[in-house]
Amino acid sequence: MTADKSPSSDAQNSEGRVFRPANDAERGQAIEVAFDYRGDVTLDLASGETVVGYIFNRNSAASPPALQIFPRDQPGSRVIPYAAVRAIAFTGEDTASGKSWETWVQKKESERKAEAEQIKAEAQARGHL
């Protein structure tokens, strides 16, 4: 993992990175990137707690500014104030990476078939076929 104070604005290149913002502006920027990220993140909170989950919402205009996260191991969502976030690690797989139509078309026929078979097998295992 690399450690940065503030992220680039591109969520697609964030997998595997850790952000330790030094101020509110950097924290807000990091949370915005985490909101755009299609994978789980790990939040280190000021309380010492660690929360792993998917950030699905944020409101920087709220008082106080807060994010909403679906923790990976809990049924409901949690609201966490921006100020409580000490670090954000993009620990989960970026599920949107490499999923564009262009990428699919450019793959070799054998690669497409293998990928399709894998997705089919997963759906069958879940009882969805």
Binding site: G39, Y54, R72, A96, S100, E102, A116, I119, H128, L129
Partner: protein
């Protein structure tokens, strides 16, 4: 006409009521996403890329009914994910039908034939089958061989049992017009009630000039597809929206026309963009900065000509002026004049 008279009457009455009571922004179709999990993984689909624990979340029937009541739109479209995976989908649909909502259950049809017994035919229920073209194009689009044949078989089974069945088709710039016209013939031969078509949505952040060309290409594509339409083709959507796709009329987006509710809440601002979520429909309507969205207002909207933003604009045009109403009547009664 592809849309039954009773449904047309309900929508007309609803829209006129909104206009006569001075409601400036009103929803037309609730986009209800009770789950994101799908049994396909179509390349380019922006709806299903989430961690497993999010894909495993489901809206309850009560949440779905409450959203429909809160929103008030006469039509409820249920996309996803694949709705037929949801174990409570029959109950969700039944509850919406009891509330006299016109339900379009959007499915890839893989599970449809097996699940038909769980549903009752109703004028309020339509299975909207995802079909992106003839066999070769569709199987490529959904990234799995054999799905076109499965869907055709399911369509026949649903029609045989008396269900309303339509198709929904997303087209991109590389579509071949002649193949799409043959596809329309094939769907009409199957006996579907009507077809719905829309251009795809790209998240690309391209410069304006390129975006303009993209919109131009979309118009050229749909002009070639819809020019001199065959008399047997029926479209289950506003004829003015088809005119818009062909470039015969221009509209600004109506992002509140198809509000979206899913496991995250009410999605700001529309079905395609995710700028945040709020807990209630009222908050969505009151707190969204609507003027920030639409062509020329937001780079994410530059290319977009998708039904969820512009079909409501077309419907509003129909009821917004005598000219719009007249054009709708002509296009409805004489579709081959296009």
């Amino acid at each position: 006409m592809a849309v039954p008279v009773a449904q047309m009457f309900t929508v007309t009455k609803y829209v006129l009521t909104q206009k006569l009571t001075g409601v400036k922004r009103y929803p037309l179709v609730l986009m209800l996403e009770p789950l994101f999990r799908c049994n396909l993984a179509c390349a380019g689909c922006g709806k299903i890329q989430y961690p497993d624990h999010v894909l495993d979340k489901r809206l309850t029937p009560e949440q779905c009914w409450a959203a429909a009541e809160e929103c008030g739109a006469p039509i409820v479209s249920i996309p996803g994910g694949e709705p037929l995976i949801h174990p409570d989908m029959p109950a969700i649909v039944q509850g919406l039908v009891e509330r006299k909502k016109y339900v379009y259950l959007c499915t890839n049809a893989i599970l449809l034939e097996r699940k038909l017994d769980e549903y009752q035919p109703s004028p309020y229920l339509t299975f909207s089958i995802h079909m992106d073209g003839l066999q070769e194009e569709h199987d490529l689009a959904v990234c799995r061989d054999g799905i076109y044949d499965v869907a055709v078989k399911a369509i026949k089974a649903a029609l045989k049992r008396g269900f309303r069945v339509t198709t929904n088709t997303t087209l991109f710039d590389d579509a071949a017009p002649e193949r799409i016209r043959k596809f329309f013939d094939a769907m009409m031969e199957l006996g579907v009630e009507g077809m719905m078509i829309s251009p795809g949505y790209s998240y690309e952040k391209a410069p304006d000039k390129k975006n303009f060309l993209k919109r131009q290409r979309t118009r050229e594509l749909f002009s070639r597809i819809l020019h001199r339409p065959k008399s047997g083709w029926r479209f289950n959507q506003s004829p003015l929206f088809l005119d818009f796709l062909m470039g015969k009329v221009d509209y600004q987006c109506t992002p509140w026309g198809n509000p979206t509710y899913n496991v995250f809440g009410w999605q700001k601002p529309c079905y395609l963009l995710q700028d945040g979520y709020v807990a209630t429909f009222r908050e969505l309507m009151d707190q969204t900065d609507w003027d920030s969205y639409g062509t020329g207002r937001n780079e994410k909207c530059a290319d977009c000509m998708v039904h969820c933003g512009y079909e409501a604009s077309a419907v509003d045009d129909t009821f917004g002026s005598l000219r719009g109403f007249g054009r709708t009547v002509v296009a409805t009664l004489m579709p081959t004049s296009r």
